[in-house]
Amino acid sequence: MRALLASLRDGRGFDISLISITMTFLLLFCGVPLIYNAIMSFQEVDIFNLNTFIRPWVGFDNYRALFADATTLPIFYNTLVFVFFSIAGQFLVGFALALFFSLKFSGSTYLRGLFLVSWVMPGLVVGAIWNWILSGDFGILNHVLKYIGVISDNIFWRSDIHFSLWAVIIANIWLGTAFNMILLSVGLAAIPNDIYEAAQLDGANAIQRFRTITLPMMRATIGAVVSLGLIFTLQQFDLFAAITSGGPANSSNVAQYRAWEMSFKEYDFARGATISVLMIGVVMIASIIYVRSTKQEIRG
């Protein structure tokens, strides 16, 4: 008995009780909804039986119907394009800015802080502003591009099927860059300065130092940033709602927006859940990468 109490106060029991609080919370608010969502994808769920648990079981019908729909594959392809280019853009611009601000010129820390403003803004507000910027007939972006002579005719960013997805990608890159920059800045700050000094003494130039010191030392941070980016990008919903509503002709529709359309526009909750289940699979893979990359974190 005393041993048990002692273990609860300071020992395995204590550890377990701490963990169990978190685990209960996670299971209740993440596990149960996940399983519930998966079950829904095998049922027929409309707005009238949404409140009951006993619903017609339809097996893989929802999955079959989803893939029989001609719009599904283009939407998944759009999702891939959106995720890849959003992350690439956010990461490259964010990394460049992080390196720039790591030069520590006067005022650099304040300027870096200002960049966070974009991260603080709600997605719908960002979307509404980009909506104006990207507007075809009187948008500022077209005006600027015309003025500097890049284009001669207005580009209808939101309404041209060749540009609509890119319109959202551009806005998303702007939105996510600051977050990438801050995380990467932290990673850069953690690299001990003496390594660079030693390399410099050995005659390594800036590019060599970047390739052989910065990049390897940043591996864990980059892994974390990219996988978090994947999760945030797959979550991105507001920008689609505000800029293109997935249109025209689904040319800028992505899985997460389609899932919402299915559930809350067409009231087909089962089909919406089906898309979510597929997306969860992708996020799981990202999470594994994230966990693995943070595990090997080098502590300076």
Binding site: S159, S245, S251
Partner: protein, 407 residues
């Protein structure tokens, strides 16, 4: 002692009978949900009705447009639904077909305040399901063609276009890219708004959602495609709603716009030119007219505990229909109400046209699966207009999808 006891008993008896009498006179409270704010009809009428000395009190709750269906469904399923709800007309059938709304056919037949024959056919159709009445139209609206008279005069066009061909040729003449003026503005957005704007064209050509791929409808979509291909309308027509499209007309960036009477007040404030309203152009001279029908309906939930009190409220609302336009700028869904002149010449002229157009307004559906039908139509419009398929092929696909839904 005995006397004291007697009088005590009497007091107890007396007071308990007073309590009983109070309980009998206690008001019935009904709940009304609608999206109207405190200066819009549902909430104003509900308050007035509550203040009448008729033993019925009203508990009003305002809900957001996007939440109407989901909130009321959840409430109905858990038995906590309001007594009366205001619901968007294409969604009415979803509820009535599943028995969520009360069949008020007999109540209406016995009522002196509500007479089904007084309502326009379109709105009445939207509250009907299999020959029974499941609600009362709250107000109505439709769409017609607004045109910039100054630009028409400058281009030498005498009157507003009456047919699709005239519309196209007027748009071509009026189109003036160097001055940022498009011939026409409308909305082909991938939302209910797109369906709302396209169905009148389909119906004028003899089609409907049930036969969306017949030649007349294909022709209609062809005209839309021509408008966009020749840049007679802004490419942003594909992603812009009616409100924003009309904004470009008000700013002088479009010579015509297809929209509804809800724009009148804003247009009078914003438009710095002479304008008029004309009936929607038809496929060819003498063809049947049609238009869209918008706005909400009132309905009583079938699990309401006070259906009679709730119906009394609906009767009160219906009796106030003549106030809808003068006080709230909304059109009553009834043919027996003459709308008084406002004294603003542009508005009064426009109103006449909208009232004429209302006679041809058709309800969307009614069908319990309307959102899916509507989505198929939106997809067809968007695919055809972006060149993903020919209008014929796009509408064929829509017809297949709709057939699967309504089978």
């Amino acid at each position: 002692m005995g006397n004291i006891f007697k009088s005590f008993t009497a007091t107890v008896l007396l007071s308990s009978s007073i309590i009983a009498a109070n309980a009998m006179a206690e008001d019935v409270t009904i709940t009304i949900w609608s999206l109207d704010s405190d200066v819009q009809p549902a909430q104003v009428f509900a308050k007035e009705f509550s203040e009448l000395d008729n033993g019925i009190k009203v508990n009003y709750r305002r809900i957001q447009f996007d939440d109407v269906v989901s909130e009321s469904m959840r409430a109905f399923a858990t038995g906590k639904s309001p007594d009366i709800i205001a619901v968007d007309n294409p969604e009415h059938a979803l509820f009535s077909s599943r028995g969520a709304f009360l069949d008020i056919t007999d109540k209406v037949a016995a009522s002196s305040a509500i007479n089904a024959d007084n309502y326009f056919k379109g709105p009445l159709n939207s509250v009907s399901w299999e020959g029974k009445l499941y609600g009362v139209p709250k107000a109505t609206n439709t769409i017609a063609l607004y045109y910039n008279k100054d630009l028409f005069k400058k281009a030498g066009i005498a009157k507003a276009p009456g047919t699709w061909d005239e519309l196209l040729s007027a748009a071509r003449t009026l189109n003036d890219p160097s001055n940022n003026v498009y011939g026409l503005a409308f909305s082909a957005k991938a939302s209910e708004e797109g369906t709302f704007q396209f169905l009148p064209w389909a119906q004028m050509a003899g089609g409907s959602y049930k036969n969306i791929n017949q030649p007349g409808v294909v022709k209609a979509l062809d005209v839309w495609k021509t408008l966009l291909d020749e840049k007679l309308a802004s490419p942003d027509t594909l992603t812009r709603g009616q409100w924003d499209s009309t904004g470009t007309f008000n700013a002088g960036n479009a010579a015509m716009v297809i929209s509804g009477p809800w724009e009148l007040n804003r247009m009078i404030d914003e438009a710095k030119f002479d304008w008029g309203v004309s009936l929607l152009p038809v496929p060819k001279k003498g063809a049947q007219r049609s238009s869209a029908m918008g706005d909400f309906n009132y309905a009583i939930f079938s699990n309401s505990k006070h259906p009679d009190a709730a119906f009394k409220a609906l009767e009160y609302f219906a009796a106030q229909d003549h106030r809808l336009f003068p006080e709230f700028g909304q059109l009553p869904a009834r043919s027996d109400i003459t709308i008084p002149e406002t004294g603003i010449a542009l508005k009064d002229a426009a109103l006449k046209v909208f009232l004429e157009q209302l006679k041809y307004a058709q309800a969307r559906g009614p069908h319990p699966q309307w959102p899916k039908i509507s989505k198929a139509i939106q997809d067809a419009i968007q695919t055809a207009l972006t060149g993903g398929a020919t209008p014929k092929a796009a509408l064929d696909l829509a017809a297949t999808k709709i057939a699967a839904v309504i089978k």
